[in-house]
C-alpha cells in the first residue's frame, strides 16, 4: 500500500531559511510548500490543506504569524501549526497556544529539535488516520 506523503507548509520571510527548511523536509519525504508572506501562506493552506505548518511570528510589514495561524485554522482546520520564532516571551507562547498552535519553538533551534517535533506531530497524524 502506498504511504501518503504528509504536506508541510513553511512560512518565513527570511527567504534563505524558508528555502533551506523546505529542502530539509523534502529530503525527509514530505511534500513541502513555502511562503514568504502571511497572505501567500493562507492562500496555499486553502489550496493544499497542509497537515503541518511551520510559522514564523514576526513577518514583514508588521504581519503577525499568530494572526496567520488563526486564518490557516479557518481554511485548513486539521492543520497542525508550529510556531518557530526568536521570541521566547511567555505571553507570546500563551497567545500562540490560545490560537491553536501545537508547539512553539525558539530560534536558534537545532535541526534535531526541529525534526523531533515534526516527527512527533507526524506520528500523531498517522495515529489519527488509523483510528479516525
Amino acid at each position: 500500500m502506498l504511504k501518503k506523503k504528509l504536506k508541510v507548509l513553511i512560512l518565513d520571510d527570511e527567504k534563505d531559511i524558508c528555502e533551506f527548511v523546505r529542502l530539509l523536509f523534502r529530503k525527509k519525504g514530505y511534500l513541502v510548500y513555502k511562503a514568504f508572506s502571511g497572505n501567500k501562506a493562507v492562500s496555499l493552506a486553502k489550496k493544499v490543506k497542509p497537515d503541518i505548518a511551520l510559522l514564523d511570528i514576526y513577518l514583514k510589514r508588521g504581519v503577525s504569524g499568530i494572526d496567520v495561524l488563526s486564518r490557516i485554522k479557518g481554511v485548513a482546520p486539521l492543520c497542525q501549526c508550529v510556531m518557530v520564532t526568536w521570541d521566547s516571551a511567555k505571553e507570546k507562547i500563551k497567545e500562540a497556544r490560545k490560537s491553536g498552535s501545537v508547539a512553539y519553538l525558539t530560534k536558534p533551534l537545532t535541526i534535531e529539535q526541529l525534526f523531533k517535533v515534526v516527527n512527533r506531530i507526524a506520528k500523531n497524524i498517522a495515529k489519527r488516520g488509523k483510528h479516525g
Partner: protein, 84 residues
C-alpha cells in the same frame, strides 16, 4: 567557544547586583538578527553533520554570509549604543 574573560564572573555578578538591563527595544533587535542568523547556521551545519556529507561551497558561502551579518549587526549596535 570563546574563553571566558578573566573577570567574567564578576561582570555577571555586577549585572545582577546593579540590576543592569538592556532596553526591550534593543533586545528585540538583538534577538531578531542574531537568533535568525544562528538558526540558519545551525540548520546548514546540522544537516551536514546529520547526513555525513561534505559542506557544499554554496552552503559554506551562506554560513559566511550569516556570520558576517552577525558581525555587521553587532558593529552597528555598538556604534549606536556605546557612550565612550
Amino acid at each position: 567557544m570563546a574563553n571566558p574573560l578573566p573577570n567574567e564572573r564578576q561582570i555577571y555578578e555586577k549585572i545582577e547586583k546593579q540590576n543592569i538591563i538592556i532596553p526591550p527595544l534593543v533586545w528585540e533587535l538583538i534577538n531578531h538578527h542574531i537568533r535568525n542568523d544562528l538558526y540558519m547556521i545551525n540548520l546548514i551545519i546540522g544537516s551536514v553533520v546529520l547526513d555525513g556529507e561534505p559542506l557544499s561551497a554554496e552552503n559554506a558561502k551562506k554560513v559566511l554570509s550569516h556570520t558576517n551579518s552577525i558581525g555587521t549587526f553587532l558593529d552597528k549596535l555598538c556604534k549606536l549604543t556605546q557612550t565612550e
